[in-house]
Symmetry: C2
Subunit: 560 residues, 2 copies
């Protein structure tokens, strides 16, 4: 038996076919979104805007599934599409789109064609920055509970910032919408032939992490709060939903239309969707005590604690949402706003003349430098600080420059800075009683950058395993497709059951070097000093020692 | 009548012939030193080492003077070498060399040939860093007066650091030397045929600024202090000197040998030497109320106050030495350890692929950015901070990076950082009662970088004039040659007399723009915050506002 996982990324959709018994992918296919710049609709006058054309989702999903099915046939004789027993879906988020009463995206209407506000508002759209501040301010004042478990600050990347911005800037679209659905709810809904927003089954992952949904206050924020935010929000809950569900539950059954388009059997279960990182964590083997780090352009750090366990709110952490990653567990999510993006920025903007393949060159140069030998220290805040400071108005810093400092040293320092940021998150989570015994890395970077992995291991003093699959998100989605199908149909009973089959690691494990670790402990102390003085209102400190200590460490390390 | 000025720079010697009556140069010629890398003997195993081959001085001086004389003949019919009535000399410093009892450099001896320790120890040689710290520590403890007027910290670039390092690391050379002479004393001595270190007339400029010489304590540091520094220094004063003299006084008369070599008349007066920057200040028109800024790879800031005026010690300023720049005035010197060097570093190490003439490109990009629009702030400490912190163990810092920050923005920010450093020096000098009414810029940068000049004007809120001559050092040397010749022989009476003839400015004056100034006042406030937290032991501060204020200013400036 097989399950199919669909992973809707920022630029493309990927389909993976999982052999349920063996727990391995037998085929995958990727299809880029046709619109905009790499699938993103941008606006030259507004760099904060990032939208997507909803028709791209349909077109690319159909192609990628057909291609994966074709490949599966080629790679395994026993395979035929009739043996696919479930479909799972993960997407970026929060990526909401306005729909009409028939669940048709407003952008499909002639009236709103080419209106960017009627399209899907991609996770990294920051047009709602002011609205996010407003929501934070109001919630802090009258509903502090709403923010306590999502780090204390509401982000411009989240659902209500985007909805409020829409209400303020395009009343026509806002009023015309019969509903607003997250992409991770929309895809399962259309796959299962839902015909209205009301029938759409909503993901607790999106609801809990991005829309202040919590069973403690019976779901979404109350009408009083919403109305106070904006008069136009008076009855907005009518266009939303009352209840959200964990992945693995049934969103519906594959409809005839999509069975026809994809060649999959009609009627098979479609799982409730979730965000890509969360399903990636499942694909990488998350469980209590295991932190999964998805390391790519940014990072997402995830672990779970048994839902019964009494947890204190962890300040500065993105979200703690029951059932959000694995049903029956509280999902704990944190992350860094920029990791690979920082290296890309540096290489793109500051690569010296004539350097070919600068990532590789710099990594090579950086690998020849010992910890502490750069004399440099950086703050990894070029895109703000998501955790543990939750402050988008922080910016990057590099200090320790001499007239000899070269790009290899800066490159290494930027890697180290993201490593220190990673350590700050782990320390914060553990400080609040959630233990982390093991780290599993996945995402685009771990495979490509062994130097980074070793630095992270040395900085955190932890071993890092690497997930064997490079498509953990799509695999996670397929796992939930198989869970939705159920054990009796040949699927999985639950995530624990699936993990035994699907969870594999690469041979190479990165282990901390005790000598490097000592140096990094000293550097981390300096990082925290600078981090606190620039990052916390309350930290009064003198940093006169910082540059001198860096030179001292550099001298000691260089001379043996 | 004419005077000749000889300017011994880091890489070459320049000869200028000045028409005394007209006050303008009629010819100049430059000759590079033949040895080492651009005239500097380096050591691949020790980046701090920078020496010069003393024979280069003779060879290049002879060539450059002959060439200048030849050019003068071509450019002015009335000229003939017999009308040259005086010679002035300026050099880098502290650049001491060990000599034998006949004033022959030890490196000319077969025994010491190829021994770098027997060569001239160039101003920027930093091998004596530990020794400098030792001298600072001892003087702070038992002779605080020695440091009070030279900024409180003894530098590795200065005379006794170099001598002590020599005594510690090459006893053979140290013991073999009958004397140690500064380059600015050595050149006038050989030109006037001196045959021993004892006959050599010493410059008060070198002595006062670099060798803790002061009439208040009867000259050089006392034997007790020197002996305490090192046992080998017990009788070192015997190899040094008792008295030093200001430029314009007679070092001797041009000897037959050098008259023959150069074609100049034997017997004409040779002025006491001085450091290049100081003679450059005179060439640029320094007087009370006028600050001359020599802006090049580093900067030197100079002004004078009447010697009779009661001056408080100005903490963090390099030197306050009576008669050091203009006889009868107290010379006040400060500076920044790296200015052009920082821009060169950035361009050399971080110029993106394919950028041709990056200085020009970046200046162009930077000129399109408004003050405050970069969102960045930097500390100009890549080569330590000479003033006002006097701390070589400080390093550079840049903050405010986003994922959009480009090299044009960084380039502008680095210029601004040096401008803020310049302002800190001016404010410190004025704070202690020395007023600055006018600024004159000279050196390699002002002509080449109008953007920098405008930024400096906006940051300091002052007008900047540019010295008309691009050889103010050599012109200053020629002025002192003419002063040594005396008014009755057709020379100048004194520096005031000379200034009336020689002091000229370029037409373009950089004046502060009131709007830019306001923005820079805000940025300077932030610079000072960061400057103090990293630069002063005593500053306890929170910098949580810095990145936010920068973003706020950026937003305001960008939106008009």
């Amino acid at each position: 038996m097989y399950s199919i996982g669909l992973d809707f990324g920022t630029n493309s959709v990927r389909a993976v076919i999982l052999d349920i018994e063996e727990g391995i992918e037998i085929a995958d296919a990727i299809c880029n979104y046709p619109s905009g710049v790499d699938g993103i609709i941008v606006d030259s006058r507004n760099p904060h805007l990032a939208r997507q054309n909803p028709s791209d989702y349909n077109v690319s999903m159909e192609k990628s599934v057909r291609e994966a099915v074709k490949k599966a046939k080629g790679s395994k004789k026993a395979f035929n599409p009739g043996k696919v027993i479930g479909v799972g879906v993960d997407t970026t988020g929060s990526t909401p789109l306005p729909v009409d009463r028939n669940l048709v995206p407003l952008s499909f209407h002639k009236e709103f064609r080419n209106n960017k506000n009627a399209m899907a508002c991609l996770w990294k759209d920051h047009t709602g920055a002011d609205e996010a501040e407003e929501i934070t301010a109001l919630a802090t004042r009258i509903r502090p509970d709403y923010l306590a478990r999502i780090g204390g600050v509401y982000s411009s990347e989240w659902f209500f910032s985007k909805l409020l911005h829409l209400a303020r800037t395009d009343k026509k679209v806002f009023d015309a919408a019969a509903g607003y659905v997250e992409l991770c709810d929309y895809i399962p809904a259309i796959l299962s032939g839902k015909k209205s927003p009301g029938e759409t089954v909503r993901s607790i992952c999106a609801a809990g992490h991005k829309a202040m949904y919590n069973d403690v206050w019976c779901g979404l924020p109350d009408d009083g709060f919403l109305h106070k935010l904006d008069r136009s929000f008076k009855n907005v809950r009518e266009k939303l939903y009352g209840k959200a569900y964990p992945a693995g539950q049934l969103a519906g059954a594959l409809c005839e239309e999509w069975a026809g388009k994809t060649g999959l059997p009609a009627g098979i279960p479609v799982s409730v969707g979730a965000f890509d990182a969360h399903m990636g964590a499942v694909g990488a083997g998350v469980r209590p005590g295991v932190l999964v780090k998805v390391i790519g352009t940014s990072t997402c750090d995830m672990t779970v604690a048994p839902a019964g366990k009494k947890l204190r709110d962890i300040p500065g952490i993105c979200g703690m949402v029951p059932h959000s990653i694995i049903p029956g567990y509280t999902g704990i999510e944190a992350g860094q706003s920029a990791v690979g993006d920082i290296f890309n920025w540096f290489v793109k903007r500051f690569a010296p003349a004539g350097v070919k393949d600068p990532h590789r060159q710099y990594a090579l140069a950086a690998s020849r430098i010992k910890p502490g030998q750069t004399g440099l220290l950086a703050l990894d805040w070029n895109n703000g600080n998501r955790n543990i400071l939750v402050d988008q108005k922080l910016t990057g810093l590099i200090l320790g420059f001499t007239l000899d400092t070269g790009p290899g040293e800066v490159y290494r320092t930027l890697i180290e800075a993201t490593g220190f940021g990673a350590r700050a998150i782990i320390e914060r989570i553990e400080e609040y009683g959630v233990e982390i015994d093991e780290i599993v890395a996945t995402g685009g970077i771990p495979d490509k950058n062994p130097l980074l992995m070793q630095i992270y291991s040395d900085i955190t003093g932890r071993s890092f395993k690497i997930a064997a699959s490079s498509q953990t998100c799509a695999v996670g989605a397929a796992v939930f497709g198989a869970i939705a199908a159920g054990k009796e149909k040949g699927g999985y009973r639950d995530v624990d059951d699936a993990r035994k089959k699907t969870c594999r690691f690469k041979k190479a494990v990165y282990r901390p070097d005790s000598r490097n670790r000592k140096v990094y402990d000293r550097l981390y102390g300096l990082y925290k000093n600078v981090h606190d003085v620039f990052g916390l209102k309350s930290a009064n400190m003198n940093l006169h020692h910082v540059m001198k200590d860096l030179l001292k460490i550099k001298g000691e390390v260089t001379n043996g």
